[in-house]
């Protein structure tokens, strides 16, 4: 305090010095109360200034840190890459940035939301600013912003959106694709097959006497059968096949890059597996069968709906011929000719 008064009472020429002094105090207090890490490096990457934020969050002692290379003070930093980034700031005299979206953090600092976040360290947005002083010496100012909250909520939002997108594609009962998503997929696969001149086949299948099953054993039993049959069929498919619930007890499978013979083979396997599978409902053995219609995309169809109609017709054929069997669009055509 005494010093302060002494300064005031000095001559006029010192007024400027006083103002500078006050300014310096204000600046340094702002820097120390900022909720942002401030770090200044010289041209050799040695730390020349750091603010309270960093001192508090790093638990390092100023006298051990100031004057030290940033890479020895913070050994967690990716030295090669970051030095190259620093040199771009020095050489090009342009700012550089590092966002949590690409790199969660640079400095291993603890954050203030320990319970709700899944990362041990504070998520950071870092800015590297070129600083040039009167005496032509160059420095880099590093600003470290705590964006743990942003990162946390953004990650949560992304996860929720992904979950929602998934839910909107899935049939609640059978956990396979619902009709809407299945149909969208068919539209895409149809376009792809046309564009690249690739084969594409379709299987439509229907549980036989499903209404009777519901009447005899109740709807819970019917649901169980739908779930079990879906799971069984799923286990027989390749990853690229797209399996969906088309209607109540009707299912459909898109088979990309598959010819009719392959599709018939798969349909036959599904038919046999289901026919020989014994399902248990309330200690009762239940046997179900399916009828399947198969079709392959040919030059004739002008849209994907026509492919559905073809396999649907084949499915009716299989039903008409006594169920528990496979019919293809080919044989239904030949049957019609006969």
């Amino acid at each position: 305090m005494l010093d302060f008064n002494a300064l005031i009472s000095t001559t006029m020429t010192d007024t400027l010095t006083l103002n500078e002094q006050v300014l310096k105090q204000i600046n340094s207090q702002i820097a120390n109360q900022l909720n942002t890490g401030v770090l200044v490096l010289d041209a050799d990457f040695n730390i020349v200034i750091w603010n309270r934020f960093l001192q508090v969050h790093t638990d390092k002692i100023a006298k051990n840190t100031l004057g030290q290379s940033i890479f020895s003070a913070f050994p967690e930093l990716p030295e090669r890459w970051l030095s190259r980034k620093f040199s771009s700031v020095f050489q090009l005299n342009t700012p550089s940035f590092c966002s949590w979206e690409q790199r969660h953090h640079l400095f291993e600092l603890p954050h203030t939301r320990p319970i709700t976040t899944d990362s041990e360290f504070m998520a950071q947005n870092c800015t590297f600013l070129p600083i040039e002083t009167d005496c032509k010496s160059k420095y880099i100012c590093i600003l470290i912003e705590d964006v743990t909250d942003v990162c946390h909520y953004q990650t949560k939002l992304q996860k929720t959106l992904a979950e929602l997108a998934q839910i909107s594609r899935i049939d609640g009962l059978t956990q396979i694709y619902n009709r809407r998503h299945w149909q969208e997929s068919l539209e895409q696969e149809y376009a792809k097959a046309r564009r690249h001149d690739k084969k594409l086949s379709l299987i439509m299948l229907d549980l036989d006497y499903f209404k009777l099953l519901n009447d005899n054993y109740g709807h819970q039993c019917g649901d169980m059968v739908l779930i079990e049959v879906s799971a069984l069929i799923s286990s027989l498919l390749r990853v690229e096949d797209i399996f969906g619930r088309y209607g109540g007890e009707e299912f459909a499978i898109i088979l990309p890059e598959t010819a009719l013979s392959g599709a018939i083979e798969l349909a036959q396997r599904i038919c046999n597996k289901i026919a020989t599978k014994v399902l248990i409902y309330k200690d009762q053995a239940i046997k179900v069968t399916v009828s399947l219609g198969v079709a392959q995309l040919s030059v004739e169809e002008s849209n994907y709906e026509e492919l559905i109609t073809l396999s649907d017709n084949a499915l009716y054929q299989a039903k008409a011929l006594g169920r528990n069997q496979v019919c293809s669009a080919d044989c239904s055509k030949s049957l019609l000719i006969d």
Partner: protein
């Protein structure tokens, strides 16, 4: 014709400022990258909002778009978009002198974009006695659909955009990208004032 269109003199003046900025920027870049950067005259077009959407949606394999806001004195501000095609992204790490495993592809794109944008705009600003600050660059997620969405959601309405086609060829391989500077209406008026001031000096 929009009132934001530049006169022939203004266009000439701006082209010259951009040429000089690009020349100095590529000299700096060549030194930094320690390689010869072959520079073609950047072609500058002013395009209005509708044309830009059309041009961009015609580009088939747009792979990535990085956006970075800039703002200087005298109300000169805007947003720089760097548009990359699929084949341009392969060796950016190499170009920047990074090891490929040190950073992700996204980060490489962001780094090179930031360097191109800020180096160029810094020199440009210096010529008109201005100084630029920059926002952190952002990679727009899945370029294709999001570019038009992004343009619609800009924090300012813009009628005129400056499309600067930059073509950087680096000694042993070619690297191309388009830089598009989106300038809001008010900033265009401000730029025109600056151009007129420069022209008046002659």
């Amino acid at each position: 014709m929009s009132e934001f269109h530049l006169t022939e003199d203004q266009q000439d003046c701006l082209q010259e400022l951009i040429n000089v900025a690009m020349g100095q920027a590529s000299d700096q870049l060549a030194r930094y990258l320690d390689t010869f950067v072959y520079l073609k005259v950047p072609s500058i077009e002013s395009v209005d909002a509708k044309d830009l959407m059309n041009t961009l949606s015609q580009q088939k394999n747009t792979m990535a778009v990085v956006s970075q806001g800039f703002f200087g004195y005298e109300g000169i501000r805007g947003e720089a978009l760097l548009v990359y095609q699929e084949e341009d992204s392969g060796r950016i790490a190499d170009l920047l002198g990074y090891e490929p495993d040190e950073l992700s592809q996204d980060e490489q794109l962001i780094d090179i974009s930031s360097i191109l944008t800020t180096t160029f705009l810094n020199v440009f600003a210096r010529q008109i006695d201005n100084q630029m600050s920059y926002n952190a660059p952002k990679l727009l997620p899945s370029a294709k659909e999001n570019l038009s969405e992004h343009l619609q959601q800009m924090p300012f309405s813009w009628d005129l955009a400056l499309k600067v086609n930059i073509n950087y060829q680096v000694t042993d391989y070619s690297f191309n990208c388009n830089m598009i500077l989106l300038i809001p209406e008010t900033a265009i008026t401000n730029i025109k004032h600056v151009l007129d001031r420069i022209l008046a000096e002659f």
